[in-house]
């Protein structure tokens, strides 16, 4: 072989592919797919963000809000947090399909065209990183797996602002493209290869082979873009299967399909799952032998368990709704907290209560209950659960159960209430 003729073309051919990014010729990596999936992804993230804020502020209400938190509907937090987790799981599917659709842009050539282009790419990197981070940490949190060095709650909260902000920024940057591809028949959509491709072959000249909006293509038949449609249907199907097999942990009527959720309504003592057992909280039956309820306030008093049981009991059906997304309704009986604070000289509806648990440690050993919850007639110091005396893991001898409240604040092993 002649060395000269062999060599001259070769370096060129080798050098270019080595530098060039991979070629993507799949026809669904386009703005229409990105728009169609992106708007559902945006909706899922919006649900996550709003319900996340609800959860955050119910758990850590800023001062002036603490006494005004709503106690109705009683299932409000169960719904809100169930939606948070369900939308988050759906967002995993949507995010991956969305990123698949736009993945070729990662290899845009040249990588940076201008300052504006660089900033745009930077914002997309931020969006991808924060969105993947949020769904990933959330997914691991619901199985209570924390392999990272930081605290989950504040960081998941902080990065949620970055993710939401970069989504808004992304929508603003892409607004013209989104508008162009919003519908199947939008001008931009009709000029895409996937829309103007073989599918329209029967309908006359292809729309906009040159990239201009289709003027001659006319409205496309409903069956157009079959391939994209099948991709979107599969995405919907994936969300459907993921939701169906997990949502039973928060929506009990679907518990028969609860195959892949971290919790199941039927698994737990007395028909109710537990988040923190007595052992984990360092509470033993021996500690409770001398148990008394200590109520502080202008007229402090102490009650034995028998004295508590002798008081008029109120019955309430309220869910335990955990921040990890599961929730189960249960029947509770006990003494309304408002009765107890009234007797101590507090004014129901106007005074908050500090609740102290016997547990050895934990961020929620001592919590404050705003006046709204403390005054609600359904907020109980519960003594029974589903017709039985509370089991040790459910907070024997007495626990708080309040409507529309995160599970971590439904304090177990209560031994002291203080009117504030």
């Amino acid at each position: 072989m002649d060395g000269m003729t062999f060599r001259t073309p070769r370096p060129r051919r080798l050098a270019l592919p080595a530098l060039r990014p991979p070629a993507f010729t799949g026809r669904l990596h386009d703005a229409r797919t990105a728009t169609a999936v992106g708007r559902w992804l945006g909706a899922a993230f919006a649900v996550c963000f709003v319900t996340g804020l609800v959860s955050h502020y119910l758990q850590r209400p800023p001062g002036p809000l603490a006494d005004r938190l709503p106690t109705r509907p009683v299932w409000g937090y169960a719904l809100s947090q169930g939606l948070h987790v369900a939308a988050g799981l759906a967002a995993i599917v949507l995010l991956l399909v969305k990123l698949w659709a736009v993945y070729p842009r990662l290899f845009a050539w040249p990588p940076v065209r201008s300052v504006r282009h660089a900033l745009e790419r930077l914002s997309v990197a931020l969006l991808v990183a924060s969105a993947v981070f949020e769904v990933f940490t959330g997914l691991l949190n619901i199985v209570e797996w924390y392999p990272w060095p930081f605290a989950f709650v504040p960081v998941h909260f902080a990065v949620a602002w970055i993710a939401t902000g970069s989504i808004l920024l992304h929508i603003a940057v892409k607004a013209p493209e989104i508008r162009e591809h919003w519908r199947r028949r939008s001008a931009g959509t009709r000029s895409l290869p996937a829309a103007a491709g073989p599918l329209t072959a029967d309908d006359g000249p292809p729309a906009a082979a040159d990239g201009s909006p289709a003027s001659s293509g006319g409205p496309l038949p409903a069956e157009d873009e079959g391939d994209r449609r099948s991709l979107l249907l599969a995405t919907g199907g994936a969300i459907g299967v993921v939701t169906l097999t997990t949502v039973g942990q928060s929506f009990t009527p679907l518990k028969a399909f609860d195959l892949l959720a971290p919790r199941h309504p039927d698994h737990g003592p007395q028909g109710l799952p537990v988040n923190r057992t007595a052992t984990a909280a360092g509470v033993s039956a021996r500690d409770l032998r001398q148990w008394r309820l200590d109520v502080g306030g202008p007229r402090p008093y102490v009650l034995t368990l028998d004295a508590l049981r002798a008081m008029p009991q109120t019955r309430a059906r309220l869910p335990i709704a955990c921040v990890e997304g599961w929730s189960v309704d249960a029947d509770w009986t006990g003494v309304p907290v408002r009765t107890l604070i009234e007797r101590a000289g507090g004014r129901p509806g106007a005074t908050a209560v500090r609740v102290t648990s016997l547990e050895a440690d934990g961020a929620y050993r001592v919590t404050e209950m705003g006046a709204g919850y403390a005054g609600d007639p359904l907020t109980l110091l519960a003594l029974t659960l589903n017709g039985q005396v509370l089991s040790l893991d459910h907070g024997f001898p007495a626990r708080i159960v309040a409507p529309n409240r995160p599970g971590v604040l439904q304090t177990k092993w209560v031994h002291r209430l203080e009117v504030l």
Binding site: T25, R27, V128, E223
Partner: protein, 200 residues
């Protein structure tokens, strides 16, 4: 500036503001460097591992009959596996007896089995329909457009999604997800990898 533009810049500015707020919240964390490492890790995990993996699987499907149905089945199965993975690989004992109480390996097999059965049924139904009396000659126009194909990789006649569409629309309406298209009718395969690309 038009109202739409005002709105657009407003949304963009709000987005920048929220990013700033989030960045500040991260910065005041005791281990903000750890957060940054995990954020970068998220990017690498997706862009460097997950997406290429999916694209490789997609490449393997190019040119296959019934590609759309297969792709849909894989999307659904992959999503389920991904969501179930932490249940299966989480190290250590469950935090308490009511957490992670199910037999997740078995349950995942059940779900994947059900997905496979539905997909196989659909495949059989479609094949029967495709070989039935209503078969039409697909696509007669050809539409090769010289000069555009090599530049954009678009519009190769005869791809699976094209031929699948020649069946009457009404027959497909009630079948549910991912069975829309893509059943290749009897037609010589003219696809090449660059025709349908790496679609999964």
């Amino acid at each position: 500036m038009s109202t739409a533009n005002v709105l657009r810049y407003g949304v963009g500015a709000l987005g920048l503001g929220l990013i700033g707020l989030g960045a500040w919240l991260v910065a005041v964390e005791p281990d903000s460097a750890g957060v940054l490492v995990w954020l970068a890790g998220a990017l690498v995990l997706h862009d460097g591992i997950l997406a290429p993996l999916v694209l490789v699987v997609g490449l393997l499907l190019v040119g296959r009959r019934g590609r759309s149905l297969l792709r849909g089945t894989l999307i659904i199965a992959g999503s389920v596996v991904l969501v179930a993975l932490p249940l299966l690989v989480r190290p250590g004992e469950p935090p308490n007896p009511s957490a992670l109480p199910l037999s997740y390996g078995r349950n995942l097999a059940i779900v994947l089995g059900a997905v496979a059965v539905v997909a196989a049924t659909l495949h059989l139904v479609r094949r029967r329909r495709a070989t039935g009396p209503r078969r039409r000659a697909p696509e007669t126009t050809g539409r090769s457009r010289p000069g555009t194909a090599e530049a954009t990789g678009r519009s190769r006649p005869g791809s699976a999604e094209a031929t699948g569409r020649t069946r009457p629309a009404a027959a497909e309406g009630t079948n549910g997800p991912q069975r829309r298209t893509g059943e290749a009718t009897q037609r010589p395969q003219r696809r090449t990898p660059e025709a349908t690309g790496e679609d999964d």
